[in-house]
């Protein structure tokens, strides 16, 4: 008997106990793998336990760690941003050109980041408001931003940034081998984790990824949210570009070419669903570090970069395949007693957006 007077019926908040909700997750699995790989390497890879390892690992993965943060949110909404590495290149070049023109690093960096915001805004506008597929748009801007970067400096490099800044980029926190740039990362990571997991905006991000129509019907500002995310992605990528430039003390049009693939690979590896709607930041961070540790260990073993690429590729494919493989297996199991999901279903197309 339904009535609007409060009733006796009450509900438990959670189906499963806390430990289950924490431990039996994709994220925990990735973290476990990460830990395992680290310990294995310490045990079996010569010099991996050396003091420099951590420093170099973090220095190398810092840009990917940074970009992975906004990329996670973008992919959770079911979109994708392939242009991030080109934004890195563009901001790097802008930093260099402005520095050559005599501007101070902070000013140049600020302009570079603003440029990143503009790049993100362009992506976001075309995707959210014009309604174009983000895959196509960002393939286009990938070429565009990289082209502008290359156009500005050709294949020459701007170097000779003053040491105060280049040293800062590689400086360590006191005696710990941890680079200073990690402070920036930790701050951003906390901010993004808060945004994604503990705000109404973040809930909207997930809703859009799971069912953007329903999100629209419940008053989630779908367009604006997507725009904001692409802008964030552009800004952080530009920031990463500044770091990248200062770390190598050289601004080149081809800086960080192909990094978008590493970022996306890491994000998906970290348990974010390419279909959108699923993913946690700590998983992503673990994913980035996992790739970083593996390549670092392999380099120490003298394994060439190509093998590393194969492994990253396999990891990527494996990580996205596992859910469907499991589903298929259970499907087969149930198929025998004549149950199972819709038999023939269309392969999912580009990205995850609907027309």
């Amino acid at each position: 008997m339904t009535t609007l007077q409060a009733t006796t019926r009450s509900y438990v908040a959670h189906e499963y106990p806390l430990w289950r909700r924490l431990l039996l997750t994709r994220e925990t699995a990735i973290i476990a793998v990460l830990v395992a790989v680290v310990f294995y390497s310490i045990g079996n890879v010569e010099n991996f336990d050396g003091p420099l390892t951590l420093t170099y690992l973090l220095l190398d993965t810092a840009p990917i760690l940074l970009i992975a943060l906004p990329m996670t949110l973008v992919i959770v909404t079911g979109e994708i941003d392939l242009s991030v590495a080109s934004v890195v290149g563009l901001s790097s070049v802008l930093l260099g050109v402005l520095f050559e023109a005599g501007y101070s690093i902070p000013v140049a960096a600020l302009v570079a980041v603003l440029a990143g915001v503009a790049c993100g805004a362009l992506n976001g506008f075309l995707v959210a408001y014009v309604g174009l597929p983000s895959l196509a748009v960002t393939i286009g801007t990938l070429a565009l931003f990289r082209g502008v970067a290359a156009g500005l400096v050709g294949t020459k490099a701007v170097t000779g940034f003053d040491d105060r800044w280049t040293d800062l980029a590689t400086a360590k926190i006191g005696a710990t081998g941890v680079p200073v740039v990690m402070i920036l990362f930790v701050v951003l990571a906390i901010a993004f984790a808060f945004l994604l997991h503990f705000t109404s905006f973040g809930r909207g991000v997930f809703d859009i990824g799971l069912n953007s129509e329903a999100a629209h019907f419940t008053g989630v500002p779908v367009e604006r949210t997507k725009l904001i995310l692409f802008v964030l992605s552009g800004a952080v990528s530009a920031l990463a570009g500044v770091y990248f430039t200062l770390r190598f003390g050289s601004a080149r049009g081809d800086n960080a070419t192909g990094m978008e693939l590493q970022v996306i690979a890491a994000v998906l590896l970290g348990g974010v669903s390419i279909f959108g709607g699923r993913g946690r930041l700590h998983g992503v961070i673990a994913g980035v570090l996992l790739i970083g540790v593996i390549s670092s260990a392999l380099r120490l073993e003298g394994v060439t970069v190509n093998v590393t690429n194969i492994i990253i590729g396999l990891l990527l494919v494996a990580s996205v395949m596992t859910p469907s493989v499991l589903a298929a297996l259970s499907g087969l199991a149930s198929r025998r007693n004549n149950r199972g999901p819709s038999p023939s279903s269309a392969p999912v197309g580009v990205g995850t957006q609907e027309r």
């Binding site: 390892t53 294949t155 020459k156 490099a157 190598f248 003390g249 080149r252 081809d254 960080a256 060439t304």
Partner: protein, 322 residues
């Protein structure tokens, strides 16, 4: 007779422990560096050192830095580098040196303060001079010429190009020769090939091309060899005999220059060993034995000069195999 030299190379107390050397060329899959590594490996065996070649797929400094870092982590005795960017890899090199690794640059130098020794394949003057002489002779002393270089921020390439430009300005013999364009093939075979095509197109009256990079000259030669410009547009520069042989034979190219990359790699390795074993510390005036290459002396700005470039042509090309 390698033995006697290796004995010499060995004195200075180095014969005791084997030095671990990492060889880091601009990128892998580049025949020029394959050859220099070949020489380095030979020298290493001669010295009883163990030498490992690592390197990025593409000639970019950030990729190179990771390998320098790794070398530092491994604490190798010496690191032999051909720099993709004079500054970008400096910090990494210095960190490696702080970790006790000796750094020898070859082929393409870094800023002097980031390395212990630079093995100079030939002076910029020498290279510029020989290439200009060759092209001038081939085009009969007058006409438009262009340069097909590697990447626009390859230190050595730019140094040579600058030299050639000033030489063209100053030297009266080259008064009628006009340098109309400089294009970049990024040491990428396909790009160099297409750049050559574009070059001939935008400059119909082109008489000659100088390509001071082995990838570039062979790509350019291949394009010319079956174009109607074959024999009309002269091509010279720096190339390896094996790559150029057929084009010299079919008349696309009359003569080109190069030092012997094999010797270059070898010399770099002997130097690295000498540094690592403390036989020298890279100061001007230091002398060291480089196997059967003989004795070398460290010059000003801590560099060692391999020698004058060598000109290959129809008559002598078959005597070489690299």
């Amino acid at each position: 007779g390698g033995d006697s030299e290796s004995a010499d190379g060995g004195d200075g107390g180095s014969s005791s422990e084997a030095v671990s050397i990492t060889m880091l060329p601009k990128n892998l899959g580049n025949p020029y560096f394959d050859t220099s590594t070949k020489g380095a490996k030979a020298a290493a065996t001669d010295l009883g050192d163990d030498l490992e070649e690592v390197g990025p797929e593409t000639a970019s400094p950030d990729a190179q830095v990771q390998y320098i870092n790794t070398a530092a982590q491994q604490g190798v005795g010496a690191l032999i580098v051909s720099a993709n960017d004079p500054t970008a890899i400096c910090d990494a090199l210095n960190e490696a040196r702080d970790a006790g690794t000796k750094v020898v640059t070859f082929d393409s130098d870094t800023d002097p303060e980031c390395r212990d020794l630079f093995i100079n394949q030939a002076t910029a003057e020498g290279i510029a001079k020989v290439q200009l002489e060759l092209i001038a002779e081939q085009i009969g002393g007058s006409g438009e010429i262009a340069i097909l270089s590697a990447s626009a921020n390859a230190t050595n390439q730019n140094a040579w190009i600058k030299m050639m430009e000033s030489e063209l300005e100053s030297n009266p013999d080259y008064a009628d020769i006009e340098l109309v364009d400089t294009v970049y093939g990024d040491d990428d075979d396909q790009k160099s090939f297409d750049e050559t095509a574009a070059l001939l197109q935008s400059h119909p009256d082109l008489k000659g091309i100088i390509s001071p990079t082995t990838v570039g000259i062979s790509a350019a030669a291949r394009y010319l060899s079956d174009s109607d410009k074959k024999g009309k547009v002269m091509l010279t520069g720096l190339g390896t005999p094996n790559q150029m042989r057929e084009y010299v034979k079919d008349g696309t190219v009359t003569a080109f220059a190069l030092w012997n990359p094999e010797d270059l790699g070898a010399l770099a390795t002997y130097a690295a060993d000498a540094l690592a074993t403390g036989e020298i510390n890279g100061d001007p005036g230091d002398k060291f034995q480089a196997g059967d290459l003989g004795e070398y002396t460290v010059e000003e700005d801590n560099s060692v000069l391999l020698g004058d470039p060598f000109v290959f042509d129809e008559s002598n090309i078959d005597d070489f195999d690299f």
